[in-house]
């Protein structure tokens, strides 16, 4: 029984040390930020019920969205390639095909009315100082602007994939993929890098990416980091709450609030898990089997010890 007491003493000192250098130290070094449950509580709610047909007319109008954004599902390709678009706007304006599935409806409505405010980048884009956000606010088509915005949101939701069909790739591309690369998934800011037959084609693609990055760097202030390993270097909680509101972590950062809904945020995390923690399913399975094996080994070792020591006492 003395040995059990010794084991307890050793375990207690080990656990105290572990607690101090892991959970406690990390709680002191990094402030804990709670999820805001993707409520975007600071933004006013949509009060009107949207009309899809009317929304379609408004979105398609060149004065509203389609002047800059492509909508591939509606047969409207981008008017310029990503690199040229980034040279014009700083970053490539997103395709709107799945915006309704990825972004929160309330966020979308506010984004249409006042982009800098919804994106939480008013510290960077101050109209009074002549720093306009590259996305022009929608000033209304002449009717009730709240109704028109609700119509546009309803239309975007109607053309987007259903929630259950939203893949991690779609969510990631829309939410993060125009600024961040993910080398381990072969993702560049202008799309998945194809496999080329000729070196010169590959170089031409790389040059496009480099040009895009130059525009992005000028627009954001610094090049947004590669996210391949972010799930390991930051963790799921950090990634998901950071996406929700980067200002909570990095006050004054040029990174906009992304505005995803809770479901899309989960998909983004899943994408990053697939990039940085690819073998997690295999690990769970192998882990279970190894544990069973080791426990059996420990039991056999215990029985052997008992047998050998029977003669020694």
């Amino acid at each position: 029984m003395k040995e059990l007491l010794i084991l307890v003493v050793v375990t207690v000192f080990t656990l105290v040390t572990y607690y101090l250098v892991e959970p406690f130290a990390h709680s002191q070094m990094h402030k804990h930020i709670e999820s805001e449950a993707f409520a975007y509580a600071d933004l006013p709610a949509i009060t009107k019920t949207g009309n899809v047909a009317n929304g379609k007319d408004l979105v398609m109008g060149a004065g509203a969205c389609a002047g800059c954004h492509s909508i591939e599902v509606e047969g409207m390709p981008a008017s310029m390639d990503a690199t040229t678009a980034a040279a014009s706007y700083g970053v490539n304006p997103p395709d709107l095909s799945n915006a309704g599935a990825v972004y929160d409806a309330k966020f979308l409505a506010n984004l249409i009315k006042n982009p800098a405010h919804a994106l939480n980048v008013e510290h960077k884009f101050d109209v009074n100082q002549g720093q306009m956000h590259p996305m022009v606010a929608f000033y209304g088509a002449g009717g009730d602007i709240d109704q028109e915005v609700a119509d546009m949101v309803a239309y975007l939701q109607s053309i987007a994939v259903k929630a259950e069909d939203l893949t991690p790739e779609i969510a990631f591309e829309n939410a993060c993929g125009r600024c961040h690369e993910v080398r381990y998934e072969n993702w560049t800011q202008i799309g998945t890098k194809p496999t080329f037959k000729h070196k010169r084609d590959e170089l031409a693609f790389d040059i496009q990416v480099l040009d895009y990055k130059d525009s992005l760097k000028a627009y954001m202030g610094s090049l947004p980091p590669d996210l391949s390993m972010y799930i390991r270097s930051r963790g799921e909680h950090y990634v998901s709450t950071f996406v929700e509101n980067p200002q909570n972590y990095l006050p004054g950062t040029a990174m906009p609030r992304v505005g995803v809904n809770a479901h899309a945020a989960e998909k983004v995390v899943e994408y990053l898990l697939d990039a940085g923690d690819t073998k997690r399913h295999e690990r769970a399975e192998v882990g279970r089997n190894v544990m069973i094996y080791i426990v059996i080994f420990a039991i056999l070792a215990l029985l052997w010890k008992k047998q050998v020591w029977r003669d020694l006492h």
């Binding site: 003395k2 050793v10 250098v21 390993m229 190894v290 544990m291 420990a298 070792a301 020694l312 006492h313």
Partner: protein, 404 residues
């Protein structure tokens, strides 16, 4: 040449040429171990097992790792983690074992201190053990550089800067160690060599020395009994196994070793599969960037106590205190002036000294990780002073201890 007869078996054939029976006796069947030792004495075997796990997993990692500043990070995080079958397993085994090995070393060390296993005749066991500890530290540090993440780079920067000797400004020495002005290709390649060749060789040699140092003085025991191994072993061989105070290493004590190893491996693989994060600093999953300093730079947990002895002082005093902390444990057999080789609980003031030292090192460990601000830096300063005072007090309090 010796006389060779026709062998009657493979064992006999080998025995005539290699004396394997004699080796077997010396190493196993007549290697005598006191009976009254508890599971803490199995930590040696646990360390051997962990070292084997490190060696085997390291060999697999070595097949795919690339010691190049441009490709090192990706070779670890992409090639080994994604492309190589079970690369993730080898990496997590290696990472967790590297951390756990220090936990076991510390338990092993404090066991030795508690039971007085470094005293009178056993000094070489202690000294060779401390040399192993120092070599393991260098091995761990050089290995931590290899993934070439942010903490690899910046910890490498901070630790190599120590060699400038504070106001001595021996910058030439730092540059000589790095092979460059900052950690770069030359630095990575030479630490790679140290990690995979020179230091493991030194460790294996020292393990041999550590074992050899046990042969004559024998293993200590938990009651501080003076055992006459010749008399007791004769009793055992005559058949009085229960009455003898000693047992064979194999299979007697080895069966207990294996039982402890079994329990330990349950704990170890639990960590490998379900809590490997503790052994892998998240910051090191950001690629090394010489232009971006991490918010907090700290060493791995097993170096924190000595790091905290460095930190609260001014540069020169800190370096002296740090140097003191690095070498002082080696002097333990000579600083403890007491004639008693018994557990700390039966000794005088040493009983309190032991627990004070243990708690002080845990406090230093905790403060070494926390940012050096406010109350934390005060506690760290007090604990660092306490560490030095405890060592100064040791010869004095043990000198007055009566013989029991």
């Amino acid at each position: 040449m010796a006389n060779f007869t026709k062998a009657t078996s493979i064992k006999d054939w080998l025995n005539q040429r290699l004396a394997i029976e004699k080796v077997e006796k010396v190493m196993m069947s007549e290697y005598w171990i006191p009976k009254n030792i508890n599971f803490l004495w199995a930590m040696g075997m646990v360390l051997v097992m962990t070292f084997v796990l490190l060696l085997v997993s390291g060999i697999f990692l070595l097949m795919y790792y690339q010691p190049n500043v441009a490709t090192a990070f990706d070779s670890v995080n992409y090639t080994i983690m994604r492309e190589v079958d079970f690369g993730w397993l080898w990496r997590h085994v290696h990472g967790v074992a590297a951390s756990v090995v220090f936990l076991i070393i510390y338990i092993h060390m404090f066991t030795g201190i508690y039971y007085g296993s470094y005293k009178k005749g056993r000094e070489m066991i202690w000294i060779s053990g401390m040399l192993l500890f120092v070599t393991f530290s260098a091995e761990a540090f050089s290995g931590y550089m290899l993934p070439w993440g942010q903490m690899s780079y910046w910890a490498g920067m901070v630790i190599t800067n120590l060699f400038s000797g504070g106001s001595l400004h021996a910058d030439f020495l730092v540059e000589w160690i790095r092979g460059d002005y900052v950690p770069a290709q030359a630095f990575l390649t030479r630490f790679f060599m140290l990690h995979v060749l020179l230091l493991p060789l030194a460790i294996m040699g020292l393990i041999g020395l550590h074992f050899a140092a046990l042969r004559i003085p024998h293993v200590n025991n938990q009651d501080g009994d003076e055992i006459d191994f010749d008399v007791e072993s004769k009793k055992y061989l005559a058949g009085d196994k229960a009455g003898s105070k000693v047992i064979r290493f194999a299979n007697d004590f080895m069966s207990k070793d294996m039982m402890v190893v079994g329990v330990y491996l349950v704990f170890f693989f639990y960590l490998v599969f379900y809590n490997y994060g503790f052994a892998m600093d998240p910051v090191n999953f950001d690629p090394a960037d010489g232009l971006k300093t991490p918010a907090h730079i700290y060493p791995e947990w097993y170096f924190l106590w000595s790091y905290e002895i460095l930190r609260p002082f001014s540069v020169d005093v800190g370096l002296i205190a740090f140097g003191f902390a690095q070498v002082i444990f080696i002097g333990l057999p000579f600083l403890d002036r007491s004639p008693n080789t018994v557990p700390a609980s039966r000794r005088g003031l040493f009983k309190y000294w032991f627990w004070a030292m243990l708690v002080d090192m845990i406090v230093l460990t905790a403060m070494g990780k926390l940012p050096p601000e406010g109350i934390f830096s005060t506690i760290g300063f007090v604990a660092a002073i306490a560490f030095i005072l405890l060592w100064i007090a040791l010869p004095i309090i043990t000198k007055f201890e009566k013989k029991i």
